[in-house]
């Protein structure tokens, strides 16, 4: 009896101190966890939500001392204004062609080049890989003047192929594909070799099917890069019907420099941002994996 009463206070004290650490833990989780997370999410998401909301606002709701978060009377007027100022369907189509054709060929080149340097044993393999990889050091931004001369001489100004061609060579994509191909077991290909398969069949029947996740990653990165690319299309086009979406939007901004046109600009920004945001939301796993690859050494 006495032992029970004597031992009783101990667990109760334990419990009360446990409760205290619990509430302290909850407080610290709020201060060092939820608070900064919510703050960061607001800072990141707010401009994009504001863009989306403003793109549906009438200009009287933008030029106001008391803006509301949601439009009172949603309107498509801003989108109509964008379409009135620019051949927006054409710009969209141009961007889509540049992204899909340019990105597709670039992905194909990355796959075949990586296959060549990994699986075809020639005396050039190592040198060619170094040659391709070293191209990563020299960004396209510094090559715009010679490339402009080259493409203009070929008659590529204000053409889609003129926009696509200089960016077709693939260095980063080749690098990522090579890293993937090196992990494939040799036995996979040896079996096919015994069956008499040539390189063409080995590439499409064996190597490509087992590398689909990496191909998806490289493909998505390429799509994002092509869709967003700006400096080169800006230089090589000067007629609206041949421009890509980012270049056209630049035109929209310089054309409508007076205040009160932010609704139109936000509609334009929405058209270029939302497609990529949707792709990112659906396939972010592949995109993040690819863009952060090479950063963390195992």
């Amino acid at each position: 009896m006495s032992t029970t009463t004597g031992s009783l206070p101990t667990p109760s004290r334990h419990r009360s101190s446990g409760r205290r650490t619990d509430s302290r833990r909850a407080l610290s989780a709020t201060l060092t966890g939820y608070l900064p997370m919510i703050l960061a999410l607001i800072v990141i998401a707010f401009p994009l939500l504001w863009m989306l909301s403003s793109s549906f606002k009438a200009s009287s709701e933008i030029v106001t001392a008391n803006p509301s978060f949601l439009p009172h009377r949603p309107t498509l007027r801003n989108y109509a204004d964008v379409a009135g100022a620019l051949p927006i369907g054409r710009l969209f189509a141009n961007s889509a062609v540049v992204t899909i054709v340019g990105g597709g060929v670039k992905l194909l080149l990355a796959i075949t080049t990586a296959y060549a340097v990994v699986f075809i044993d020639t005396i050039w393999s190592k040198f060619v890989f170094a040659f391709v990889l070293a191209a990563l050091m020299f960004p396209g931004e510094a090559a715009i003047i010679p490339n402009y001369i080259t493409i203009a001489t070929m008659g590529g100004r204000n053409t889609l192929w003129g926009i696509i061609l200089p960016g077709l060579g693939s260095a980063f994509g080749t690098f990522l594909m090579r890293q993937q191909f090196l992990t494939l077991p040799r036995s996979l290909l040896e079996a096919a070799e015994i069956d008499g398969a040539g390189h063409w069949r080995k590439l499409w029947r064996i190597v490509v099917p087992v590398s689909i996740p990496t191909i998806a990653t490289v493909g998505l990165i390429t799509i994002v890069t092509e869709w967003n690319s700006y400096l080169w299309p800006l230089i090589i086009t000067d007629t609206p019907s041949h421009m890509t979406l980012p270049v056209g939007l630049n035109l929209l901004k310089s054309a409508e420099s007076s205040t009160g046109v932010y609704g139109t600009l936000m509609a334009g920004a929405t058209l270029i941002i939302v497609p990529i945001l949707i792709i990112f939301a659906a396939l972010q796993k592949y995109i993040v994996a690819g863009l952060t690859q090479g950063a963390v050494k195992e």
Partner: protein
């Protein structure tokens, strides 16, 4: 098993080297090599060539002026202002996004609900069009209609006329850039934090180290490969910045970094392609130097877990 099987595979391949292999190699790698030669390496040499000239883009004639373009870029006030703007922009964006990225990585590295979502959401601006992002922010910054105006008013101040002064233009550009890239740093630092063995942190705790001590003495040194990688890649990134800067300030005052100056000088109002080529050469060399430093030192000077 790994190296041995690889060696035997190599021997196998060597035995089977055939003339048709060379044909396939050219077929598979040739187009890419040709494109890279034509649009990456050939421009290197052409830039060197053009940089000796006083030359308008598209003009048939040009005057050879030797190293004058380089002299101007390294000594004239306009040339030096490009160096200054590039340096300030690069240092501030790299430090800003890395420090904020590290803080957020530590935050989302806790066992709390919502961390995965937060990581993905913070990363998302990284994939968005710089043109679109800059349009959105030019609205945010507007002294009359922008949201930031209300933030300033809440503190009892009035919004600066961001794009009327060089200093505030540069500040605005840095803010947008950090906004776009801090999530990238968060995701990479998070991956680095995840790769730190738990027992090391546990051991530090057992030895009586405080949380701060553990972070600065154990975690941070172990993160150095990530830190180094980010420093290099973010520096390369910032030095190539163009779209955000050009949309925020089309004429370029205050934000004329290397790439913007190349564009302004060759395709903008000045039409001085020779001078712009000289800047291109300097940009090439600077970026190549940074990359070489990365390859040389990344394995030696940093800690690996």
């Amino acid at each position: 098993m790994g190296p041995r099987s690889r060696r035997s595979a190599r021997q196998l391949r060597r035995r089977r080297r055939r003339p048709s292999d060379y044909l396939y190699f050219v077929l598979f790698a040739g187009p890419n090599v040709a494109l890279i030669t034509a649009f990456v390496y050939y421009p290197l040499f052409m830039n060197l060539n053009y940089s000796r000239l006083n030359w308008r883009i598209g003009a048939d004639t040009a005057k050879v002026i030797g190293l004058d373009n380089y002299k101007e870029f390294f000594t004239s006030p306009t040339g030096l202002s490009v160096w200054k703007v590039t340096l300030i922009f690069t240092v501030c964006t790299v430090l800003g996004s890395m420090i904020l990225g590290l803080i957020m990585a530590v935050v989302v590295n806790q066992k709390l609900p919502g961390t995965t979502f937060t990581r993905t959401a913070l990363f998302s601006p990284y994939v968005l069009s710089g043109v679109g992002v800059a349009l959105v922010w030019s609205f945010m910054f507007d002294p009359q209609m922008g949201i930031l105006r209300y933030v300033f008013e809440w503190f009892g101040k009035s919004s600066p006329q961001w794009f009327l002064h060089d200093n505030t233009t540069l500040t605005a550009a840095i803010i947008v850039y950090v906004w776009k890239y801090l999530g990238y740093c968060t995701v990479l630092f998070f991956a680095g934090l995840q790769s730190i063995p738990q027992d090391l942190l546990e051991a530090a705790r057992m030895d009586g180290a405080s949380k701060a001590q553990t972070f600065f003495r154990v975690t941070l040194p172990l993160l150095s490969p990530t830190t180094f990688f980010l420093m290099v890649s973010m520096t390369l990134n910032a030095m190539q910045a163009f779209d955000i800067l050009q949309i925020l300030k089309p004429t370029g005052e205050g934000v004329n970094t290397f790439v913007f100056e190349i564009y302004r000088q060759s395709f903008g109002i000045y039409q001085r392609a020779g001078y712009a080529s000289a800047i291109s050469v300097v940009l090439f060399l600077t970026l190549a130097l940074i990359t070489v430093i990365q390859f040389r030192f990344v394995d030696r000077k940093v800690h690996y877990a």
